[in-house]
């Protein structure tokens, strides 16, 4: 693999929430470098602050300390592709309406933005459903719309926040294959957040394991396995055990 340039550098990032008479330290001294066009997985147990970290990267929240540097300059609001946990589609907009929304906010002329949206609707395999409302779609299809909507920002950075968390196991497996296929077809820097160890190993170029109180980077893993990876492969299971043993339990 060629040497990739650094895309995003997270330096000494901490986040503390000050509540009424409580100080909650969520993230402490996080250092992560994301390479261009890599598929990076942030793996951590529930409630460990993964979403907070993503929100800071998306500029929805400010860090208490440290910084997030984008080597090509911080993208403006609306120029990051984000996929949300519970799809978060606009229920009154059709599939097309949802996918084109970012370009619409930016004021791209209708014909041009619909052409672009059509391309991504086809990329996620939803052609024929352009005029359907989200309520008519299954969970897996709804999240495909969410992914197409993120791709349609044309951003070279994609943030996915536990995108398959609400799907059933079967759909989840097929969506994991889908997201890899899309990434191979249209390479971008992907930051994929999950709490599922198998999903992390199946997908990631690199896995950053988060944990501790407050949350910090525990360890980094590089699954040295060619894709498509096999869940029952010896190397897969070995890595899985290693990561599980290193993960904090949250009850």
């Amino acid at each position: 693999m060629a040497v990739q340039k650094d895309k995003i550098i997270i330096r000494g990032l901490s986040k503390t929430f000050y509540q009424k008479n409580k100080v909650v330290e969520v993230l402490k001294n996080i250092n992560i470098t994301v390479k261009e066009n890599e598929f990076l997985v942030l793996l951590g147990p529930g409630q460990c602050g993964k979403t907070v970290l993503l929100n800071i990267m998306a500029d929805l929240d400010k860090p208490t300390e440290g910084e997030v540097e984008f080597t090509d300059g911080r993208p403006e609001m609306g120029n990051l592709g984000i996929v949300f946990q519970r799809y978060a589609l606009f229920p009154w907009k059709t599939v097309m309406g949802n996918v084109e929304v970012n370009q619409k906010f930016k004021g791209t002329p209708k014909e041009k933005r619909q052409q672009a949206a059509q391309k991504y609707i086809e990329l996620v395999g939803l052609q024929g459903f352009e005029n359907a409302l989200p309520q008519a779609l299954s969970g897996g299809m709804q999240q495909r719309v969410g992914i197409a909507r993120a791709y349609a920002t044309e951003s070279d950075i994609m943030l996915l926040d536990e995108p398959f968390g609400a799907l059933d196991a079967q759909t989840r497996y097929s969506m994991e294959d889908e997201i890899l296929r899309m990434w191979e077809q249209d390479k971008r820097t992907v930051i994929f957040v999950t709490n599922n160890v198998e999903e992390a190993i199946y997908l990631g170029d690199r896995i950053i394991l988060l944990g501790g109180h407050p949350t910090g980077v525990k360890k980094e893993y590089v699954p040295e396995m060619p894709r498509p990876r096999n869940y029952t492969d010896v190397a897969f299971l070995k890595l899985r055990n290693e990561i599980v043993n290193n993960t904090d339990l949250v009850l």
Binding site: L60, E76, A88, P91, W92, F105, Q135, T153
Partner: protein, 265 residues
């Protein structure tokens, strides 16, 4: 299997239909008997058959209240639609901006909270003094009663917008105005329509009160005359007409809602 289910469903439908008919027959049957037997004197309450007779009679005759039923209906619907539409046109946008812009909220809400609990009928005396007893005065009374639910529901509809959707729009680059028009307003539509439906009912219920202000026609007026002449059949024809027209308008409104806001939320 499918056929079996279909048959079962059909059976159930038939049973429910029988219940509907039974309910109506029982209601009108008991009413008829109560008056015929004389438990309530025919001077004070007439039989349903008499009501139907009067209804048919009133389609062609102006006696004893001066106009045919259709003229009364036309006069009333003009009045209530005028007040109702005015209330929707003013009330819904006001509620929406009050819900979204803090400044608007601070400016209007205290005033509105004081006006809100005043029953529409309590406005009548002051309306007579300021606007007189003409068309404007009546429209104003109806407007007041229909205005409040429009504002309250539109306001709540905006306040109840899912914060996640607002965040999504923001990360996708929406301006504040775009968030208002493309996220908050569509998401409030179901609440708005509920408010409009309550408004419609309110505008009809205030109709009779509004028509007490010196009318010469209208369903409310017809009911008044019926009372003065001790003609329960005239009163009931007026009441039933109001009921049926109100139900029809509610039905038209829900068709319109399905067209404008077909999503579930």
């Amino acid at each position: 299997m499918g056929e079996l289910m279909d048959n079962k469903k059909k059976d159930q439908k038939r049973q429910l239909l029988i219940l509907t008919i039974l309910g109506l027959v029982l209601f009108f049957g008991i009413w008829e008997i109560v008056v015929r037997v004389g438990i309530i004197s025919e001077r004070n309450l007439c039989t349903p058959t008499k009501v139907v007779q009067t209804l048919i009679y009133k389609l062609y005759n102006t006696k004893p209240d001066g106009s045919t039923l259709f003229v009364h209906f036309l006069s009333s619907i003009k009045l209530s639609l005028f007040g109702f539409i005015l209330a929707v046109v003013v009330g819904v946008p006001l509620g929406l901006v009050m819900g979204y812009y803090k400044a608007m909220d601070s400016f209007f809400t205290p005033l509105f909270e004081v006006i809100r609990p005043i029953p529409p009928i309590a406005w009548i005396p002051i309306v007579i003094l300021t606007l007189g007893i003409g068309f404007q005065a009546k429209v104003f009374i109806i407007f007041i009663s229909a205005f409040v639910p429009c504002v309250v529901n539109s306001y709540l509809g905006i306040k109840l917008t899912d914060q996640t959707l607002i965040d999504v729009a923001q990360t996708y680059g929406a301006t504040r105005w775009q968030i208002f028009t493309t996220i908050c307003i569509p998401s409030s539509m179901n609440m708005v329509f509920t408010g409009v439906r309550v408004s419609l009912a309110a505008s009809w219920s205030t109709l009779v009160a509004a028509e007490m202000l010196a009318s010469t026609e209208g369903l409310g007026y017809m009911i008044q005359i019926g009372r003065n002449l001790i003609r329960p059949d005239i009163i009931l024809v007026g009441m039933i007409t109001i009921g049926i027209v109100g139900a029809l308008m509610g039905w038209v409104l829900s068709l319109f809602e399905k067209k404008v806001a077909p999503w579930r939320y």
